[in-house]
């Protein structure tokens, strides 16, 4: 039974695409056949982050319009087996996404893939709505600041009232992913703390990604940051994937002193 997971946030620039790329690559690296779809029609970025921008021939909108087959449009990742990317169209706008069209693409993907990751555009308009409509589960990406948290709350409301699952009387399983977390700045009072965010949103936490230069480097070089096994952000994303797959993994990189980790707190 395949699962559709939307990565969404409401607010822009919080790390949806970075997280989608890392999450999809992480699932694939663990042996799960995964497709990641860029729903940001007109502002496509996922292909850049995944380093496949020069391999795009056909895109999501071409498939919806029947101008190409899904097989033609899917780009197979060269680094990770089991990972495929469906890029957005750069020359169209969100109106090119029809509910029927998106549904047929997702249904076709479901036949072959275990996980389908939908990288949502920012906002609560058509693109974001289409990305979440068919979701079984959702990863809500939030930065530790009030407007991002507020927007995440808004998108959670839409998710549970206007998605297909909601229309069918079911719920979409929610996961909270806090990105760009800087324990120093939380300590200094500049940023919302992890516990505050969880309290405001009351959604189970799936991971905390520390603010890290390696994320930017990874993006610019077109390698999902999860592949950088030395970076804290990369390791934190691996933990996220492990937790998503049901493993119990303690949180890391959430305290100011790297030595005083979760275990020390627990046992020391």
């Amino acid at each position: 039974m395949s699962k559709v997971i939307v990565v969404t946030s409401g607010k822009g620039g919080v790390g949806k695409t970075t997280s989608s790329a890392a999450f999809a690559a992480g699932l694939a690296a663990k042996g799960h056949k995964t497709a990641v779809i860029d729903f940001d029609v007109g502002l496509r970025n996922l292909d850049l982050i995944m380093g496949v921008e020069r391999r795009v021939v056909y895109d999501f909108v071409n498939v919806i319009n029947g101008e190409a087959t899904l097989k033609q449009a899917l780009i197979k990742d060269k680094r990770v087996d089991n990972l495929y990317i469906l890029p957005a169209s750069q020359t169209r706008d969100k109106d090119a996404l029809s509910k029927e069209g998106v549904e047929s693409v997702i249904n076709e993907l479901k036949k072959e893939f275990e996980f389908i990751v939908c990288d949502s555009p920012a906002g609560i308009e058509k693109g974001a709505f289409m990305a979440l409509y068919f979701a079984d589960e959702a990863i809500i990406v939030t930065n530790p600041e009030v407007s991002s948290v507020r927007d995440s709350d808004r998108i959670l409301g839409i998710l549970q009232s206007r998605s297909k699952a909601a229309e069918d009387g079911k719920t979409v399983k929610e996961h909270l992913l806090i990105t760009r977390y800087s324990p120093d700045r939380v300590e200094g009072g500049d940023m919302l703390g992890m516990d505050d965010i969880v309290e405001i949103l009351s959604v189970p936490l799936i991971g905390v990604i520390p603010e890290s230069g390696s994320v930017l480097q990874a993006s610019n070089s077109g390698n999902p940051v999860i592949m950088d096994k030395d970076s804290e952000a990369g390791q934190a994303y691996q933990d996220v994937v492990a937790r998503f797959l049901g493993e119990e993994v303690p949180l890391r990189f959430i305290d100011v002193e790297p030595k005083k980790g979760f275990f020390q707190k627990l046992f020391g």
Partner: protein
């Protein structure tokens, strides 16, 4: 039988342009923001923004479109008088003009004979649909119905318990709005807007385990929590109406 003039809560659609397609698209979007609230809800059409241009609008088509969108069109008001006969033929009831521009929240409760006409408490001309609430002459009967919400009410969501009390077992977020014709109980943190006695029941109360609301209201009397000097912010509290004043009291001792 009894036939009485009473006021009810009605949605008023302020038509501001002649493009029906656009109007219906906007209205559909609005409806989808709170489908349970709007589904099969009565609606009146107000033409005051159109003036004489209303002549050019196809009101039978508008009526049909409203029905298709799941509203129940009940009447029309502020239309050019010459159109009355035509509108009645098209299936509309002509409503007497409201005192829209001058009404205040308390003026409505002194009205005695305006049967069936919604007097406005506040007007939001920028919105296509505004919810208007009315204080009826007699307190509305509190139903024994109850609406229970067991999931968080998120920012931007609106939940309305018509003729009923409401119980929320989860939190309500900043930027959300919960309304009930009866009382409201919230067992998670109450952070959004909360309006009890939405159709004028002055006996309605608000109970919450952690009072962090943005705005509290009972029977149309409202207060921003930040403008209140209560010491019960973040604590269990009960809110009731005493005359024109909202009283916030501790809930647990």
């Amino acid at each position: 039988m009894k036939l009485k003039g009473e006021m009810s809560m009605l949605n008023v659609l302020h038509v501001q342009e002649l493009d029906l397609e656009k109007l219906c698209a906007e209205l559909e979007q609005k409806r989808d923001e709170a489908p349970q609230f709007f589904m099969k809800s009565p609606i009146i059409v107000d033409c005051s923004d159109l003036g004489d241009a209303a002549e050019q609008l196809d009101f039978s088509l508008l009526r049909q479109k409203l029905l298709e969108l799941g509203f129940i069109p009940v009447g029309i008001r502020n239309n050019p008088v010459e159109m009355n006969a035509r509108l009645v033929d098209a299936g509309w009831a002509i409503m007497r003009e409201s005192r829209a521009s001058t009404a205040t929240s308390t003026a409505a409760s002194t009205e005695t004979s305006e049967s069936g006409v919604a007097a406005e408490t506040n007007q939001q001309p920028q919105d296509t649909v505004s919810e208007e609430q009315v204080a009826p002459q007699a307190a509305a009967p509190v139903g024994i119905k109850s609406l229970t919400i067991d999931r968080p009410v998120r920012s931007g969501q609106q939940v309305y318990a018509a003729d009923a009390d409401m119980t929320v077992l989860a939190q309500t977020s900043a930027g959300s709005e919960i309304m009930a014709d009866g009382s409201i109980h919230v067992y998670g943190p109450l952070r959004g807007r909360v309006l009890a006695g939405a159709r004028g029941n002055e006996q309605a109360r608000i109970f919450c385990s952690s009072l962090q609301a943005e705005l509290i209201a009972i029977a149309g009397r409202y207060q921003l929590l930040d403008e209140s000097d209560t010491e019960l912010k973040g604590k269990p509290a009960m809110i009731r109406l005493d005359g024109e004043k909202l009283i916030i009291e501790p809930l647990a001792h």
